[in-house]
Symmetry: C2
Subunit: 340 residues, 2 copies
DNA sequence: CTGAAAGCGCTTACAG
DNA sequence: CTGAAAGCGCTTACAG
């Protein structure tokens, strides 16, 4: 009774493919076929199998399936945090495309330290995902090497790099910073300051800002203001600091909309007239940006499209289709409103 | 050479546990033990194994591990959408706790239709997750039955229900609506309107609102205003509609902060004085709520804690520890600011 | 259109 | 402290 093959249920109490086959009067392989390539099974057989599946409430064990087929049906996605609405949109786009293709998402969160990320990626790779995506670029050489060795199709996103591990889908943060700063210059601003956090992405935007100043023969209105966290409150505080540091500043370019909205609110609280006295520009185009008054001039970023496109390219890779472009620049768009 | 056991690498080209064992001069079982219960292995053996792991870049195949051990090391999480910052925080809390325990998150997105959700949950269950959580309560009887049959530890979240499939972690939306409406009544408001979307959660909040009105002997200032989407713009339009429908309204209770912020902005645009002429209250306590002026009076919700707590309880279940409370009410808090 | 055999890469008792 | 044997529940060629 407790013999190896004598039971009619798996040890977890759940029906196995053998149980379905027995009930349908056929074999495991035909059940498997019915579930995956039904057109290759005779209609009557198919009917009996599906009935048995229904009766038993059979759910295929995808670990066994993955092991046998070497296709896990999983795409792994690594994000710094999803408690940030711009990243959440990327995850959303990625997940939607993956879901339509019948793939599941394994979510890895937290890229605080390179070591922690290495461990996370190793663990995810152990799941044999069919593809892997990450918000941001992987810098640590050991981690890059690891990912290259696994040969899992991989997309880095958000930042463009000339040297992706496999694919990269994003936009140029430098170019976005450059374009917005040029816009400010074109609007007659001459004392332009930068407010941003202390990460790679903000640094790239700042480089664009500096480049635009240089080509216009301008100096920064103040040393770049660095915030420790990205919040409306941090934006407020940064603007206050800026006005103390450089009272004559005539434009503030904020590395993202949350900071810019904070800055805008601070201006209103303190009667700083925007854009007359001070222009304020952001980056990201959050919904709140267009609802404030003055409405925020900003850069629209294809957050959702980044996720969706990365997923599509990875699906193509998984299907063995050629991917002609390893570096995909989805661009951005200056959205001119009232604040700058 | 192409024989079954003659190769030194798995078919995917990746080293297997056998390869590590061979290099370390031991057997698969000892390698497995070294990786999972190192204290049971002699130091010298352990050293050799870890060295071999390092040399080969060995990453255990977790599908094989899951199949053999019947523990997948995965927790599945189903969300309606994560492009909504309150849900994103719940996911974040869940994922952090799970990650600390070494479990991976399988993310299922989309609960648009009960049928689609049933398919999604079936697919997720096939992965044999050690536990399953969902934002929101599962209503469809077939889906509830399916989940009950699988015997996977399961947490429904956000909404409290008297009859959870297994566990439920959340707060009472009805009680929150009741408390905020009582607050408005206590502040002397008598013509109180409700603005909300058309889902279960908003309906529960509305019921609380109606209950508070009834106990105060009041009538709604207008039929509940229903929005089709949750956005600042929708909040603006809803407020405009409300003022047309019931010009004498003296308070607007919005089912969530996004709508409330939209309403507040609309008031400012049209010179409706808040709170003098109209009180505006929200629910959710987004960061923007405290930054606007007037700052938004709202209900603080433990979004992040909901995710974290659900994960903790599920981990306890997985570890076989008794969970004494199946219904966990995390409560809420009225945050009184300037708008109401 | 259907099936027998072998194998995917691990872990679980059980011995010693 | 270490290992031989069996098995987890599927799918993959290969036949017929």
């Amino acid at each position: 009774m407790s013999g190896t093959r004598a039971r009619s249920r798996g040890a977890g109490g759940r029906p196995r493919i053998e149980d379905v086959a027995a009930l349908a009067g056929t074999t495991a392989i035909t059940v498997s076929r019915t579930l995956r390539q039904p057109q290759k099974v005779a209609p009557e057989t198919r009917r009996r199998v599906l009935e048995a599946v229904e009766t038993l409430g059979y759910i295929p064990n995808l670990s066994a399936s993955a092991l046998a087929s070497r296709r896990s049906g999983i795409m792994a996605l690594v994000v710094p945090t999803i408690a940030n609405s711009v990243f959440a949109e990327t995850v959303d786009g990625f997940s939607e495309v993956a879901g339509r293709a019948g793939l599941q998402i394994l979510l890895g969160q937290g890229t605080y330290s390179p070591e922690a990320e290495h461990r996370l990626l190793t663990a995810l790779a152990g799941r044999q995902p069919d593809a892997l995506a990450r918000i941001g670029v992987v810098r640590r050489p050991e981690t890059r090497a690891l990912l290259q060795r696994t040969r899992i199709p991989m997309a880095e996103t958000w930042d463009l790099t000339q040297d992706p591990i496999d694919l990269v889908v994003g936009f140029s943060n430098r170019a976005a910073g450059l374009a917005m700063t040029r816009h400010l210059v074109a609007r007659g601003r001459r004392r332009i300051a930068f407010i941003g956090s202390d990460d790679d992405r903000a640094a790239a935007r700042r480089h664009g800002y500096e480049e635009a100043l240089a080509e216009a023969g301008l100096q920064p209105a103040a040393p770049a203001i660095r915030v420790q966290e990205i919040s409306y409150g941090a934006g407020r505080r940064a603007l206050r600091a800026l006005l103390q540091l450089a009272p004559e500043v005539d434009a503030a370019f904020c590395a993202n909309d949350v900071l810019a909205v904070g800055a805008l609110l601070e201006c209103r609280s303190f009667g700083v007239s925007v854009p007359d006295r001070l222009a304020v520009a952001g980056l990201g185009d959050l919904e709140i940006a267009q609802e404030l008054s003055p409405a925020l001039t900003t850069v629209r970023i294809p957050s959702r499209a980044i996720g969706a496109r990365a997923a599509e390219l990875l699906l193509a890779r998984v299907a063995g289709e050629p991917v002609d472009q390893r570096i995909v620049d989805l661009g951005f768009e200056i959205v001119e409103r009232e604040s700058a």
